[in-house]
């Protein structure tokens, strides 16, 4: 194992690790916190909660976001809910059970201690959000309501209609606004981080571009917290927002932070199917719909044909001719199997020719039995906004006819490698939320992204960052005229000028779509050795062409959205290659990573714990040079890894 990959997981029993760790790490006195500056990149659930909490503690915080307001971060779009181990419904939930479900759901590729801590602080998050005024759904008693999500047999998901992410983000954003008002946090909107600055090997600041004026700015600090989200948009079509990107994390990688498990990308089973080449993004239909919706395709191919020719409506197909394939294959969890399992099952049916739309890439999500059982008004109350969203996009009323859905890229479990303190391999650089790799292994369970973002930002980072900063209270304010800042700024300017000067023939989107096709075809839901090798070749060729032929209009000294896109795509072109490289190395099937060579007779994933029970952490070695793979071997002290079984 590399000397830099020290996980710093404390000794002792699982349930005592975090308590013990907190008791022994250093703290910074209030008077000294005032002397210290922290930069936070991103204002989603992780970034906003971290910036607000650090501001409350008395640090000087600068928070950056690419949107016009912190509230726009893509956490806002999370629909279904947030998990916590409250056990309010008395269904025998516990911190241990949430921990166990998360470890199992991640197919035993995450760190036990981190996941246990996540489950441990989950309850605090719900308390915090209620205190902030988040209007969670309630019972008539006035108590909080819960629902179920995939990969769990208990109801532990708290929700605010289909807008849970929005409400939680508005809570964190409100806490952030209070700190901005009090002067503890300074907010930089429409600013994009384009480089990380290191002085003597420590993270000391960033280079950012003011997206309105185009000015390249230097910002110094004693530590930098990356909360910039995931890199799912490498696929072009995904459920991520258009501006979500992996560039901030990628620039940190290029400055020495190891990138962990890049090939672990989550494909969400319930998205609105692709309609054509003019499409710019995919829309998610919340996993919560699988509480009441049943997934099926016809049993008979002639019914499929008639559906595709629009000769019959789906509701006309009788019960006995429907194949509720998840209920058939996984009786114990039924429609609530984890996302990776549900996605592969949909692909399996569609590959066998049972896809229900013209492209053959769609299955049904049907609410008829729930409507018959509960009445339309109950379904409307639970999912009204999702049904409305579906009808607007598809022009079909889902109260009358089933929804059509298909898997799409949704989330990336991989990210910057962090230790137990959430510190990357660069001292002073922390990564939280989707930007790090730590808690979800090979597959994330539904309603756990919100939990992780807020756990990191409210309750973990504010403690652990103190341990680093405590020994830096004598360190003066970072000098932004240091040669390291000048060099980083010059490099950014060169990159911008280069992109603007190519003046080729094709637009940024043209190249992004090409990259997306390569990724989906070879690095998507099913991967194999020859395909991955082909992907690497194709990506390299495409990147070469991009740097010679892309056309980015306008200048660098103005609001220039094409330039912004080009900068992001330049990084996606490299991220895509690393994903393929990582997928090639991992010759096992695990969570969302399905290697066709490694499957059971009935098409389930075949893990290889003897050879691959490690976190892959890639070290950048220079452009055009193969990155170096470091391995953090996972030590399962408390849970015995077993084959995931959702059948019985």
């Amino acid at each position: 194992m590399s000397e830099k990959l020290i996980s710093k997981v404390p000794e002792g029993p699982l349930s005592q690790k975090w308590t013990e760790h907190k008791a022994h790490i250093k703290v910074v006195s209030p008077a000294n916190k005032r002397k210290l500056e922290i930069i936070v990149i991103g204002t989603g659930l992780g970034g906003a909660s971290a910036a607000a909490s650090l501001g409350e503690l008395g640090y000087n915080v600068k928070v950056f976001c690419i949107s016009d307001s912190p509230r726009r971060a893509h956490s806002i779009a999370a629909q279904g809910g947030i998990n916590a181990a409250k056990n309010y419904p008395n269904d025998n939930d516990s911190v241990y059970r949430l921990f166990y479900d998360t470890i199992k759901g991640g197919d035993y590729r995450s760190r036990e201690a981190n996941v246990y801590r996540l489950a441990e602080v989950s309850n605090l998050i719900i308390d915090q959000c209620v205190a902030q005024g988040v209007p969670f759904a309630r019972e008539y008693s006035g108590m909080l309501d819960n629902r179920s999500f995939g990969g769990a047999q208990v109801s532990r998901t708290f929700y605010a209609r289909g807008q849970t992410g929005q409400q939680l983000l508005l809570g964190a954003y409100a806490a952030l606004n209070r700190q901005i008002h009090l002067g503890n946090v300074k907010s930089y909107t429409r600013h994009e981080m384009l480089d990380l600055v290191l002085i003597n090997g420590e993270a000391k600041g960033i280079i950012a571009r003011n997206l309105v004026t185009g000015e390249i700015e230097r910002h110094g600090a004693h530590a930098v917290v990356l909360a910039s989200g995931g890199y799912g948009n490498v696929f072009f079509l995904s459920t991520n927002a258009m501006n979500s990107n992996g560039s901030a994390a990628w620039q940190c990688y290029k400055k020495g932070a190891y990138f962990a498990n890049p090939c672990f990308a989550q494909i969400h089973p319930t998205c609105i199917p692709v309609h054509g080449e003019q499409q710019s993004k995919l829309t998610l239909m919340s996993e919560s719909l699988r509480n009441d919706g049943r997934i099926w395709v016809p049993k008979k191919l002639e019914d499929v044909k008639r559906l595709r020719n629009k000769e019959i409506a789906p509701s006309q197909i009788p019960e006995e001719d429907r194949d509720y394939y998840l209920e058939r294959r996984y009786p114990a969890y039924g429609n609530l199997v984890p996302r990776d399992v549900a996605s592969r099952a949909a692909k399996e049916r569609c590959d066998a020719g049972y896809g229900v739309n013209e492209t053959g890439l769609a299955v049904f999500l049907d609410f008829k039995s729930a409507i018959d059982r509960l009445g339309e008004h109950v379904i409307a109350e639970r999912y009204g906004n999702l049904f409305q969203m579906y009808e607007k996009i598809m022009d079909v009323n889902p109260y009358k006819e089933p929804m059509m859905i298909y898997p799409a890229i949704h989330y990336t479990m991989g990210g910057l490698w962090v230790d137990y303190n959430l510190q990357t391999t660069i001292p002073g650089l922390y990564a939280i939320g989707e930007a790090n790799f730590s808690d979800h292994g090979g597959n994330r369970l539904g309603a756990s992204a919100l939990m992780q973002g807020l756990a990191d930002g409210y309750f973990i980072l504010p403690y652990t960052i103190g341990d680093y900063l405590a020994s830096r209270i004598q360190v003066p304010k970072t000098d932004i005229n240091d040669p390291a800042f000048v060099e980083a700024e010059n490099n950014v300017k060169k990159r911008v000028d280069k992109l603007l000067s190519i003046n080729g023939t094709q637009t940024v989107d043209f190249y992004h779509k090409q990259l997306g096709h390569i990724m989906w075809e070879y690095v998507g839901m099913a991967r194999n050795e020859s395909g991955l090798k082909k992907a690497i070749e194709k990506i390299r060729a495409l990147r070469e062409q991009f740097w010679h032929d892309v056309k980015v209009p306008g200048t660098g000294s103005e609001l220039n959205q094409e330039l912004e896109k080009a900068l992001k795509l330049a990084d996606f072109m490299e991220i895509g290659e690393l994903m393929a490289l990582d997928a090639l190395d991992r010759k096992e099937s695990c969570g969302g990573h399905f290697r066709e060579e490694m499957q059971t007779e009935d098409g389930e994933t075949l893990r290889d714990d003897n050879n691959f029970m490690y976190v892959s952490a890639w070290e950048y070695k220079g452009d055009g040079i193969e990155p170096h793979l470091h391995k953090e071997f996972l030590n399962y002290e408390f849970v015995k890894p077993s084959t995931r079984n959702y059948k019985d």
């Binding site: 605090l124 005024g133 209007p135 008693s141 605010a160 054509g276 607007k392 056309k551």
Partner: protein, 259 residues
């Protein structure tokens, strides 16, 4: 489908704007409005330095700048006045949820930015909505810090109150209410936050100070007053009801009476 687009072009906040006319062809009815704008931009980039386009009187040949992000109607980034209506001809949706099947083949469509003194144009169709952040920073929160809060179920909230609070909290901060109001008032926006928190016991503690601080900030930033035309409610993509403005007024009056 084919369309003629009349699009507002404006180099920056200081430069005077104007309309340009463009044609887009071969648009699928299933394409969203913003995807149609992507196609227009693709076209404009390819023609970019084309002297013919400039000779035809095309003053701004670069792509049209417009705000967008989630493209599923929740982030509140997209805006646009389309044929004289905020977020286009349909009710209760954002521009990103509008699809071209809503228009007729051959239509001429006029696309403008939000029009409000408090939200000036930055470039083309992008406006500066920073005033909304400032209003919320003035007091749109419960002053609770991280940690040390009671168990979530120790605060009981009647279901109807929680539901109504959620109705108010559905606001996405897009600015359609301000853009459509003849007075340029931000009352619906503010009321969503004031009302959402005022309905909850946790929010009552600071209710009076909150409403005063937010209304003061709104006035300071140059938004107009409400004259009950209800245009805001009509154009709100989340259909936040003006009944929340009524609650805001009540809260404000009570707070002022206590002064």
């Amino acid at each position: 489908m084919d369309f003629t687009l009349k699009v507002w072009r404006q180099k920056d906040a200081k430069t005077k704007g104007h309309f340009e006319t463009y044609k887009v062809t071969n648009i699928s009815p299933d394409t969203s409005f913003l995807e149609m704008m992507d196609i227009l931009n693709d076209q404009l980039i390819r023609e970019g330095n084309d002297p013919v386009a400039i000779n035809k009187g095309c003053k701004s040949s670069g792509p049209v700048a417009f705000d967008h992000d989630c493209r599923e109607g929740i982030c509140g980034t997209c805006s646009l006045y389309i044929n004289g209506r905020a977020h286009g001809p349909d009710n209760e949706i954002t521009t990103c949820q509008l699809h071209m099947r809503r228009f007729n083949d051959g239509d001429t469509i006029t696309v403008e930015p939000w029009r409000s003194a408090a939200m000036p144009v930055i470039k083309d169709l992008i406006v500066n909505r920073n005033a909304f952040d400032q209003i919320l920073q003035a007091g749109g929160y419960i002053s609770v810090s991280t940690g040390g809060v009671p168990d979530a179920n120790s605060i009981l909230i009647p279901k109807e109150k929680a539901d109504e609070s959620m109705d108010a909290a559905a606001c996405i901060g897009c600015g359609a209410c301000v853009a459509t109001c003849k007075n340029g008032s931000a009352m619906l926006f503010i009321s969503s936050r004031v009302s959402s928190l005022a309905l909850l016991p946790q929010g009552r503690v600071e209710a009076a100070n909150r409403v005063k601080a937010m209304v003061d900030k709104m006035d300071e930033l140059g938004f107009g007053a409400c004259t009950n035309t209800r245009a805001c409610e009509m154009e709100c993509p989340k259909h936040v009801s003006v009944s929340h403005i009524a609650r805001l007024n009540r809260e404000f009056l009570l707070a002022k009476l206590k002064d």
